[in-house]
């Protein structure tokens, strides 16, 4: 009680003083009543002030009380100069908020352990190798039969868990007209028990749900999906949904916090791996493999055993490869298996954004440091203005520590007000950045909790920032020499040296931020302006599916129907839009010769596709309605270069070789222009197109039906999306078995490849502007202060006949030489750091003079603008007025 009352008394100290005074007064009154002389009684009582202090000190916590007094004093100091304080707080808040936001993202994506038991025991299996561009890459896709052999080999030492890449899938509850998109993942039945997860409702999948191919149509909903889609309805157990031709039964709902193992995607539905059509295919790598390693198992031995098992599997498979040299086969096999810690799961977003987020984190940290330097300079300038006050405090007995605290408390005000604002900024901005990460139809969803990790980071950051900008000025202020300070003659240069050093640091960081921002913006521009080889304007892509394969005649009938709609310019059919992520490659053999090691990429298209896409037809002809697969092919220029030495390929033929030893024969009927096939970052690939219409592989006279395809529509109107709803309705009207599962504009698809670059460019540009602004303000402040300090000197020089130009040089020379030094240091930093972000750049060379000139010129311009007002002020000094005042 006593401690509490003493703490409480700190915050009602005035009342406490009044009470003590009143008690002393009543003592005197009592004395007077007893007939004593009031003056004598007062003398006997002693100094009321001393008594009050003495009593107060026993009744409250002294240090807390003086801290409170310092806080009140510090607040008054801030309020004295509201504008400057607000600017300092805002810039710090932006820095702290951005850093906290970056931490939230990085933590949520890369470091936060999965909500499973012992996440630290989880590892992800991957293979390393050299990719076609010569870079070391890792590939984490596995074929299921390979996985089964590895699982058997690891038994007793580790449990292997298969988890498919999450995919957006169309499912229907009840009527087929109401198709929904869900994020679905095929997982090993034993995943849930191995992760130690318990169902919220019903049951989870188990090993017995994952034994025989296509025999276990059971599904577990994630808690998040159950809440969003079913409003936590307990009757969801037992409901069925259709996916493809299978009817699945919902058997349970997963635990609340488990959202799958792919940070960046929240899984809606889990089904057993055995339901995946690739479960029996040795050549289809569609899943990741996580290993839960038993404690105490030596990792290297386990890795070696898994590597040997997987290699034996691949060697066995390679026996089926035809026409490849031993060297080529060895190259394929020679991809050692690695095990990487996966406590936080494994996702594409992790690998795609690891470097980007780190780069952004560094950028915002630099911005925060620039803001810190500003505030440190501000505090130093204020400390200078208060040197006399400090000296006075020292002379009447204030301890050094007390003075340090006085200034630090003021810094703490700034830091914590900034942290509060910054917290709001982080709360708002982190989800916004996540929202920018993926295209709108496939949004990234990242769980971003604001828990002790985030709050702890924010607090640590705030205290760190406070010490960074507050400690040096505080120590300096406390080291004041009363004698010299009160005489008004301290060495002013010592302060300026600190400020100038900070200006150099600021400029260096600002240069670095601008340099990196310039690289990111240039990368984005080059990628956006890269010709794709086709025209995406007014193109709409309609991914269309049917429950079972539909004969070619119905696809043609629908094509014809769409062509006749008003507002439609042309329509074609392909198995997928270009650049939509779909790819198929195979070896190619020309005239029976063994393949030359270059893979070719394929796509099936209808007659008229080339024209609809506005791809130039260079030689030969387009497909005719009678052309079929296998049979005729169109090839692009790169294909002609790689396989026909650049000769006109029309009339020549080639074979497509399959893994199982079969092949398909094609005659080239046309040569078309190069286009981006898969990704705008990639070099142009050798491509061949074959007709959408294909013959049955068993009965070559029959045409094969298809259960999915994409109608490519070029609209007449400028906004293709205006026709989206009409087209969605018209496709099933043409043939009722068809449903449109997804409508996208081609532009949207193209842009989805540059999402990361756009994000980086935008954020880096934003922080570049902020950094420049802060550095400019800082420069202005220091120049202004130095002019103020040197006004006597300037006045004397002017009185002695110095010219304005001379004065301007004189007051700016020091600071501008610091700016130049800082810029040079920034340049060095830029060169040193560029190799860490090289993987994020596209056709931008950091040594390009333009990339260097931009930040240099920007900083120079900002420095000139920031320096102008103080210089004007310096040359306008009226020597007579100043010298008279002295």
């Amino acid at each position: 009680m006593s401690l509490w009352s003493r703490i409480a008394n700190v915050f009602r100290a005035d009342r406490l003083s009044r009470e003590i005074d009143e008690e002393l007064q009543s003592h005197l009154a009592e004395a007077a009543e007893q007939g004593r002389d009031p003056a004598e009684a007062r003398r006997a009582l002693g100094s009321a002030l001393r008594l009050r202090e003495e009593s107060r000190d026993v009744r409250l916590i002294v240090w807390l009380d003086s801290l409170r007094a310092d806080a009140v004093f510090g607040w008054r100091q801030l309020m004295k100069n509201k504008l400057v304080s607000a600017a300092a707080i805002l810039s710090l808040a932006l820095g702290i908020g951005a850093c906290t936001s970056a931490f939230r993202l990085i933590d949520a994506l890369l470091f936060r352990p999965l909500p499973v038991t012992h996440p630290e025991q989880l590892y992800e299996l991957a293979r390393t190798g050299i990719d076609p561009e010569g870079r070391i890459g890792t590939f984490d896709g596995w074929a299921y039969p390979d996985f089964q052999q590895m699982r058997a080999a690891a038994r007793g030492e580790a449990e292997l868990i298969a988890i498919s890449y999450s995919q957006q899938t169309d499912i229907t509850y009840g009527s087929d007209q109401y198709m929904e998109k869900v994020y679905l993942q095929y997982v090993s039945g034993w995943m849930f028990s191995s992760f130690g997860l318990r169902p919220t409702l019903g049951r989870l999948l188990s090993e017995s749900d994952d034994l025989k191919p296509r025999a276990h149509p059971y599904a577990v909903l994630s808690y998040d999906y159950w809440k969003r889609r079913f409003g936590e309805d307990p009757k969801v157990i037992g409901r069925t949904f259709r996916m493809g031709n299978d009817l699945y039964e919902v058997v349970g709902v997963g635990p609340k916090r488990f959202t799958g193992t792919e940070p960046g995607t929240i899984i809606d539905i889990f089904v057993p791996t055995m339901m995946h059509p690739g479960a029996v295919r040795p050549d289809w790598t569609w899943m990741r493999t996580l290993a839960r390693v038993n404690p105490g198992v030596p990792l290297e031995l386990l890795r070696a055993r898994l590597d040997a098992t997987s290699r034996a599997f691949e060697e066995d498979r390679a026996k089926g490869f035809l026409g490849m040299t031993k060297k080529e086969i060895n190259e394929i096999l020679n991809h050692p298996l690695i095990m990487e810690p996966a406590a936080s799961g494994a996702s594409d977003m992790q690998s795609d954004y690891r470097t980007s987020l780190a780069a952004l984190g560094v950028l915002v940290a630099l911005v925060l440091l620039i803001a810190c330097a500003n505030v440190a300079n501000l505090m130093t300038a204020q400390a200078a203005a208060r040197a006399r006050e400090m000296a006075l405090r020292v002379s009447i007995g204030a301890g050094r520590w007390r003075l340090v605290r006085l200034v630090l408390v003021e810094s703490a005000w700034l830091a914590f007000l900034a942290a509060a604002l910054g917290g709001l900024f982080a709360w708002w901005s982190a989800p916004v950045v996540v929202g920018m990460i993926n295209p709108p139809d496939d949004p990234a969803r990242l769980v971003l909790p604001a828990d002790w990790r985030v709050v702890g980071f924010g607090l640590a950051l705030t205290v760190g920032v406070m010490l960074l900008f507050g400690l040096a000025p505080a120590l300096r202020a406390s080291a004041v020499q009363p004698v010299s300070a009160l005489k008004g003659g301290q060495d002013p240069h010592s302060r300026r040296r600190l400020m100038h050093a900070l200006i150099a640091v600021q400029t260096a960081f600002c240069f670095l931020v601008l340099f990196v921002a310039g690289l990111f913006v240039a990368t984005f521009q080059r990628l956006s302006n890269r010709p794709t080889g086709f025209s995406a304007d007014r193109l709409l892509t309609l991914d269309t599916v049917a429950r079972r394969p539909q004969a070619q005649v119905y696809w043609n009938q629908t094509l014809q129907h769409l062509r006749e709609l008003p507002g439609v310019e042309s329509v074609a059919l392909a198995n997928s839009p270009l650049m939509a992520g779909w790819s198929w490659n195979n070896s190619v053999s020309v005239a029976g010769a063994p393949p030359n090691g270059v893979l070719s990429y394929f796509m099936s298209v209808s007659p008229g596709w080339v024209e609809t896409m506005k791809i130039p037809l260079i030689a030969g002809r387009d497909f005719r309605p009678s052309d079929t697969y296998p049979g005729m092919a169109l090839v692009n220029q790169t294909f002609a270069k790689k396989y026909f030495n650049g000769d006109n390929p029309v009339g020549k033929s080639f074979d497509m070789l399959f893994y199982n030893g079969k092949s398909a024969h094609f005659e080239v009927v046309g040569l078309v222009g190069d286009v981006c096939y898969r990704d705008v970052h990639e070099a142009i690939l050798p491509q061949a197109y074959y007709p959408f219409q294909s013959r049955d592989s068993k009965n070559a006279l029959e045409l094969k039906g298809q259960d999915q395809g994409t109608f490519i529509v070029r609209t007449a109107g400028a906004n293709p999306l205006a026709m989206a709803s009409i087209l969605r309705r018209e496709v099933p009207r043409a043939w009722p078995e068809f449903r449109v599962s997804n409508i996208r504009t081609q532009i949207e698809i193209d842009q989805s490849h540059t999402v990361r670059e756009r994000l980086l460019a935008r954020l880096a540009f934003f922080f570049g502007v902020v950094a420049l602004l802060l550095a400019g303000v800082g420069l202005y402040g220091v120049l202004d202060y130095s002019v103020l300090q040197r006004r006597r000197e300037v006045a004397i020089r002017m009185a002695l006949g110095a010219r304005a130009g001379h004065i301007a040089r004189r007051v700016t020379a020091d600071v501008y030489s610091m700016v130049v030094a800082g810029a040079l240091a920034g340049l060095a930093l830029g060169f040193a750091s560029v190799r860490y972000i090289e993987s994020l750049l596209y056709q931008v060379r950091p040594t390009d003079p333009r990339m260097l000139a931009l930040p240099a010129l920007t900083i120079l311009a900002a420095a000139l603008v920031a320096g102008l007002p103080p210089v004007i002020r310096a040359v306008r000094i009226d020597p007579a007025a100043i010298l008279r005042a002295e």
Binding site: S2, S5, I20, E23, S26, H27, E30, Q34, L51, R59
Partner: protein
């Protein structure tokens, strides 16, 4: 807490003792009581009484409350707590031990 032979120690003892006999006294009354009973021998320094009272209040030995006296003025009355009673016993025995020791020294030397 305080050394038994310090002035403060004896002041605490006196105040506690007075309050154990007569409850609810204000500062002036405590001071007068010490003077009266000791027949003017012990004159506490008036000023040091109040910090001592506040310290004892903080230590939980005495409890204080404001009342309005007949003449309309407010006064702060003190009374002993259970902890104060215990403290009194300790202080008293300590005092006796010290005075006995001093007396022995005076007799034997």
């Amino acid at each position: 807490m305080n050394k038994a032979d310090s002035l403060q120690g004896s002041l605490d003892l006196l105040v506690l003792k007075i309050l154990s006999r007569r409850s609810r006294l204000h500062g002036y009354a405590i001071m007068s009581a010490i003077q009266d009973i000791s027949e003017e021998v012990l004159r506490t320094e008036e000023g040091s009484l109040y910090p001592a009272l506040h310290r004892m209040e903080e230590a939980g030995w005495v409890r204080a409350e404001w009342i309005i006296k007949d003449n309309g003025r407010r006064a702060r009355l003190y009374q002993l707590t259970a902890a104060g009673r215990k403290q009194l016993v300790t202080e008293e025995s300590r005092w006796h031990a010290v005075t006995a020791a001093v007396n022995r020294v005076l007799r034997m030397a």
